[in-house]
Symmetry: C2
Subunit: 255 residues, 2 copies
DNA sequence: GCGCGTCCTTCCACTGACCGGAATCGTCGT
DNA sequence: ACGACGATTCCGGTCAGTGGAAGGACGCGC
């Protein structure tokens, strides 16, 4: 009366990964039962797998017996190639930029149809900023997103343009309007948003290039854009070019 | 003539984890064959498991067909509880400190018998700094290490004191000397090093407290320590107290 | 062009590691 | 004391995983 009832086709590995996938921004700590439910596994099965994950250090138990992502996965995550390298290289330039403006500064790359934020220096202003390191936001409503979208392959652009969600009253939801904006981004080599992601927040962003490819974007969030737009664009471009040169230098050296 | 020859006791999960564990600081990119060898698995077995890991996003293939840690593991790593929370909370204070001094600033915790660096703002000076985010260094030769060691449980202190590796000619390798320094750290509430980790680099560090527990350390690396030591200590303590207050506030609020 | 070395991928029959319902064991709150 | 809930342990049936062998896909030297 025992036997295996798991739906065929499910591998052990995929189950272990499902357990890891049960954690997200809003669920950093889970009990075994929650974990099993979120991963779609029976409790005893989850128990055994989780035991192995904990033994290895992928998960950890907190004092209350709940589970969380372990330190070893944190270590591994830092080894992820593109992000870490880029983040480390760009870090000093981000700080320079932050020092010069004291506004919130972002480093982001495209991940599928979204923007992935690799780093953020939080400005001390009270501008509402929703991004956070590791978070993803839509491309059509952020400065860095527009830059990355403008340089993305046509099929990505088409996918994004076909589903423009409204986020604030000022979000651009007309494909035609956005397409025109993207053309302008290519021409001017920078993008802006005005309260399109959150009210009271405007942004300017520029591309970061490795050779001729756009590999990331650098952005700044400010309370408003008056006549000082040129100042921000200039500071951003200096920083972006610095990162680009550092990237090129690093690419020649190791790999 | 097929059959299973794997040594009994090895689980699928442990093999998948062994594959992840094959990556480290010096091996960020591996071919399938290297991966299999480092994980101690036959190539076909590694091939199948790696396929699942890639499908899930734990690993990624680069253009040359080699494997590396994937973006999804990077995401997960950011969810690791202690570090992320502390890092996020401390971030603005680190930036303030960096802005005030323009020297390299560190946030670190104790991990076993070593110091684990959670964050670093790289100063633009040319002081040789060996630490990096996620890296581990010995406790007896770094400023943050001495702070954390001074507040560590006696058995940890004993373990560390029993094996003081020499790193530079100035590294403290006499247990008695270090013990006296630790006592002074407790009295003065800050620690210093003078070229004990790398030549040309000195450091000052202070503890970060949550309540009365020391949970982390804040340090700064400078080219030399003259009469300005007091200035650094004061700046560090202001920042550390700020982080401590933020920690206390955060602890009251959510979980 | 051709042989050779290296690495990647597919195949497939055997079998022991995994599965999960059921039962047991804490540990709460009432 | 008792019920409710979650964490553990048990254990026999079975199928997912195993890995040697064979087949490709390159790249390189001659």
């Amino acid at each position: 009366m025992a036997g295996r009832l798991s739906t065929p086709g499910t591998t052990v590995t995929s189950r272990a990964l499902a357990l890891l996938g049960a954690f997200d921004e809003d669920h950093r700590r889970l009990t075994l039962t929650e974990l099993a439910a979120r991963a779609g596994l029976p409790v005893p099965t989850a128990h055994r797998l989780v035991g192995e994950l904990v033994a290895w250090g992928a998960l950890a138990r907190d004092p209350r017996g709940r589970f969380a992502i372990g330190r070893r996965l944190w270590d591994l995550g830092l080894l992820a190639p593109v992000q870490t390298g880029l983040r480390q290289l760009a870090s000093p330039y981000l700080h320079d930029l932050y020092g010069a403006t004291l506004d919130t500064v972002h480093l982001a790359v495209r991940d599928g149809l979204e923007v992935l934020y690799l780093d953020r220096l939080a400005g001390n202003t009270s501008v509402p900023v929703v991004s956070d390191i590791g978070s993803r936001l839509p491309m059509h409503s952020t400065g860095v997103g527009k830059v990355l979208l403008a340089h993305a392959p046509p099929e990505v652009q088409a996918d994004v343009l076909s589903d423009l969600r409204r986020i604030t009253p000022y979000t651009v939801v007309q494909p035609g309007t956005l397409r025109r904006q993207l053309a302008r981004v290519l021409r001017d080599d920078y993008a802006t948003t005005v309260e399109e992601m959150s009210l009271g927040a405007c942004s300017v962003a520029v591309p970061i290039r490795a050779g001729s490819d756009v590999v990331a974007a650098l952005g700044i969030v400010v309370p408003g854009l008056r006549n000082d737009r040129a100042k921000y664009v200039a500071a951003l471009q200096v920083a972006a070019q610095g990162v680009g040169r550092a990237l090129a230098a690093a690419r020649r050296d190791p790999s």
